[in-house]
Assembly symmetry: C2
Homo-oligomer: 222 residues x 2
């Protein structure tokens, strides 16, 4: 490719790493929404999940196209993330509609914060693309509104969902930390980008702070 300076050359690998992770995240979000749709209490919500899932497929396509522009094969870029992301989902299979929504609110909340932080370390247009794709996803906001209504209607569900949320945050962080540890270019990007040796640790601290605020917002910290 022409016009490469040394900086963009250095960033080539981390960009492909992050876009590969985002692409597989979008693809799996579509698949998870379809499963969650089967748990929806009515056809209106079931159809809404379908409509939101189509947005994730669109996000996948945009990120895959950008990977191709970088000369990277989307399948190869996604491959390292298949096992850890699927293991996370297997370990956190929701049993009903409210558990599914809580998983989205907790897990997607942390994942989106993580991806947005790393995207901020990339040059535009890659960083912009990741932010736009994350922004287009409406499932977390939908989940928050649904959970708020369910808790208002029956405050007792907050106890059950608080316990489930604690399990989810443990699984989310342990899987995210494993991915960060295994994917050296991603870790290097964070350390270089933040200019701190403990950049990864500090990033996870910020993720936890934002997570706690989300739990407080729904009174899920009992």
């Amino acid at each position: 490719m022409s016009g490469d300076d040394s900086r963009s050359q250095d960033l080539r690998a981390p960009v492909v790493e992050l876009l590969g992770l985002v692409a597989f995240g979008e693809l799996l979000a579509f698949e998870r929404m379809a499963r969650d749709a089967a748990l929806a209490p009515d056809l209106r919500r079931r159809a809404t999940l379908g409509e939101m899932a189509a947005v994730e497929v669109d996000g996948y396509q945009r990120v895959a196209a950008r990977l191709a522009e970088h000369g990277a094969d989307p399948e190869r870029a996604m491959a390292p993330y298949v096992r850890p992301v699927e293991e996370y989902h297997d370990a956190t299979e929701p049993k009903d509609w409210l558990e599914a929504l809580t998983k989205v609110y907790v897990g997607d909340g942390i994942a989106d914060d993580f991806l947005a932080e790393v995207a901020a370390l990339l040059d535009a247009p890659d960083g912009d693309l990741v932010r736009r794709v994350l922004h287009d996803g409406r499932y977390a906001a939908f989940a928050e509104a649904e959970l708020r209504a369910a808790i208002e209607e029956d405050p007792k569900v907050a106890n059950r969902l608080s316990m489930w949320a604690r399990r989810l945050v443990g699984e989310t962080l342990s899987h995210a930390q494993r991915v960060a540890a295994e994917r050296a270019p991603l870790t290097e990007l964070i350390v270089t980008g933040t200019g701190h040796e403990d950049g990864v640790q500090k990033l996870f601290q910020r993720l936890m702070t934002a997570h706690t605020a989300r739990m407080d917002a729904l009174d899920l910290n009992n």
Copy 2:
């Protein structure tokens, strides 16, 4: 609504019946493709299923919008079909990728033929809309190409898939006949539209003829 003559008044109920069935079929096709995606042998095919599923969601949205134009609530129009269609899918859960593709080739093939025949009895633009939505679905053609390649590579799989296809056609027809019997406006439309008392029976004979031709095309009639 203005401009209703007695014919379109008579057709109001069957139109809503058929559009409700097509809408729920599109919504469930999206959900099924996401499940099938988890069986895909590689990320390329997995992503392809996602892209095809997004087309089904788009089809759902177009049919739901048309139902609303008819003054019908999409959820109410779909509701009668939820149980029979889900029971069909529960009775025919594929165990692997090739079984999933065979199910699409057999089941969607028959269902699409059925819907296209009934759509031909509707006035435009409803009939045109159903035909366009069916035409946009690419999963059956994808399944045929994948199955053809798999059978060419290992002819022994044809035996296993032939047995599976026989079970599928039995389940597909018995569920389709139950739906036709339960939904009087649909049956009336077929009888009135074809001008024959035995219009439904003849329609099912045509579906079987087309099904047999599809099985022959892949040598799945052993």
